[in-house]
Amino acid sequence: MASHPNTYKNQPDERGHFGDYGGRYVAETLMPLVLDLEREYRAAQADPAFQAQFDDLLEHYVGRPSPLYFAERLTEALGGAQVWFKRDELNHTGAHKINNCIGQILLAIRMGKTRIIAETGAGQHGVATATVCARFGLPCVIYMGAEDVRRQSPNVFRMKLLGAEVVPVTSGRGTLKDAMNEGLRDWVANVHDTFYIIGTAAGPHPYPELVRDFQSVIGKEARAQMQDRIGRLPDLLVAAIGGGSNALGLFHPFLDDPDVKMLGVEAAGHGLDGDEHAASLLGGFPGVLHGNKTYLLQDEDGQITEGHSISAGLDYPGIGPEHAWLKDTGRVEYTAITDEEALEAFQLLCRTEGIIPALEPSHAIAAVAKRAKDMPKESVILANLCGRGDKDIFTVAERLGVEM
């Protein structure tokens, strides 16, 4: 169903649909809330003071703009295209997640909400949410799968230090999707005072749109920085995809530049031929979960199956609806990288550039390594280094058989 619209930037429509995807598939109790949020978001978009406050916090609190970095030794090692990184791992809290949290907490305050909730998988979005809640003095409850609480104890402690209440979720199978279910259950029971800060470009409209917009600072900066540094746009953008917010943040400002190709990288886990992966686009089917229609890992009866990835930030069984649309239109190409390939890329970047990446962007780096070799030396790849790897050293050590 490839179509070729004049612009790829006019989505979603007024009902929050990206082509067939997206929408507002929520219980009636929440429907008036998401309509309120949409109204308030439209007002904020038209309010220069809101944008000014957002920009100011990104500059002075988050540390933006993040650098654009030419990875010279990695480029040499790969022997093909020039590899550049957008260094969003240098943000306050160590990942791109904070960009979105700043935007959403400003919306929450604008709406007079006095309590914040969020879900988290590996804990990065939980830490970013707890951070902005501390910054603005709002109480914060983070839902996290019980298994993730056990595996990610440093992030749990960070959240607690920041004053958040971390609730281990044991319902369902105690994973990220169950944490999101529990967040929705909390929200439906606390509709009057609570704002739900969703961590990725998914959920009911307007979340996919507003998360994308807040994260688009990544691509806007990168576009200007590329023009400034090399006088042209890159040939290929690469980003890892769990829910897809860092990828959309990088891609969106380039969608209408026809010469810029884009590659989204899903987690292939142990391989796409089995069930142990988290590649919703490449290995799933369209369906409805958590407020939106999108590609989902599911069985023939529509029961949701668990994703697997070495990266806890990628093992969600769905994906943001705009990616579903970008896949169907053919504007963005999607591929998948296995746990093993990501681990190799993780080590490659450590040794060639002195940067310890998170396991999420390690998937993007692995895809870059595959592509760069076959591209001419004058071509330019820009990948989003969306998180730093401090949180992942225990996982990596275990996989490499190292006792810590």
Partner: protein
């Protein structure tokens, strides 16, 4: 007259009973509900991610899926119920994804063949009606919508448009089986809804005891009980039918006599 409109035209308010399909011996449990005096049956379609449900119904979903229940099993349970009980209205209740997985037209047609009278889909609000509503209507199945304490006057007409069978009033902003709404707030809400529609109003969420059910039945056309029944199924396994029959009889007694 449809089976649903018949159930709401009786001289007494209707007792609507919910259990999850595939949790225990569902056919025997459904028979027990009917024998106990249920006027309408809501059969829950199990889903891995029941985000509007509290622990009781979440656990029922897990038990059912753990036992291997498929969509085909749910439809077979419905078909056999219809053969045994030609006149008792049967409503499927669940979440969008299992309903639309094979396409909404497939689901509407399969539900029609199984003798289903209505469908309640928790996560398809009026804004997304296209995802299932047109196919249900074409198959002669009532799309039953939910109204909640957050459904304000501005929004209510949109909820009612295209709604059929009955209107399910979710009496608390929250999940199933938890807190109970204050009787006065239920009375106000039902009066507000009745002023806006001729559809029967059934009230649910947090209704557990005959006393609560009887009080609500003084103002509403129907009372929905779910979590309390589902807990009996979870607790009593193969002995559940007798317990369900007894508990339902208590509820039915209170609901049917509420306006005497």
């Amino acid at each position: 007259m449809t089976r649903l409109s018949n159930a709401f035209s009786k001289p007494h308010p209707a007792l609507v009973c919910f259990i999850t399909a595939g949790d225990g011996d569902t056919s025997a449990n459904l028979d027990a509900l009917v024998e106990g005096g249920a006027d309408v049956i809501e059969l829950g379609m199990p889903f891995t991610d029941p985000m509007a449900d509290g622990p009781a119904i979440q656990n029922a979903n897990l038990r059912s899926l753990g036992a291997g229940t498929t969509t085909a099993d749910v439809l077979r349970i419905a078909t056999e119920f219809r053969q045994r009980h030609p006149n008792v209205p049967l409503v499927l209740m669940g979440y969008a994804n299992p309903m639309i997985r094979r396409g909404p037209e497939w689901f509407a047609s399969a539900a029609k063949d199984a003798g289903v009278d209505g469908v309640i889909c928790v996560d398809i609000p009026p804004e997304e009606d296209d995802a299932l509503g047109p196919d249900l209507r074409a198959a002669g199945i009532a799309p039953i919508r939910l109204a909640t304490p957050t459904t304000d006057a501005r929004r209510l007409p949109q909820v009612l448009e295209g709604s059929d069978g009955f209107l399910y009033y979710v009496s608390v902003a929250g999940i199933t089986g938890k807190q109970q709404a204050a009787q006065t707030s239920i009375e106000e809400a039902v009066a507000r809804l009745k002023a806006a529609t001729d559809l029967p109003i059934a009230v649910g969420f947090g209704v557990r005891t005959p006393e609560q059910a009887g009080a609500i039945a003084q103002v509403a056309d129907g009372v929905v009980v779910g979590s309390a029944l589902v807990e009996l199924v979870g607790e009593h396994g193969t002995d559940a039918p007798a317990k369900l029959r007894e508990y339902t009889a208590g509820l039915a007694g209170a609901v049917h006599a509420a306006r005497n």
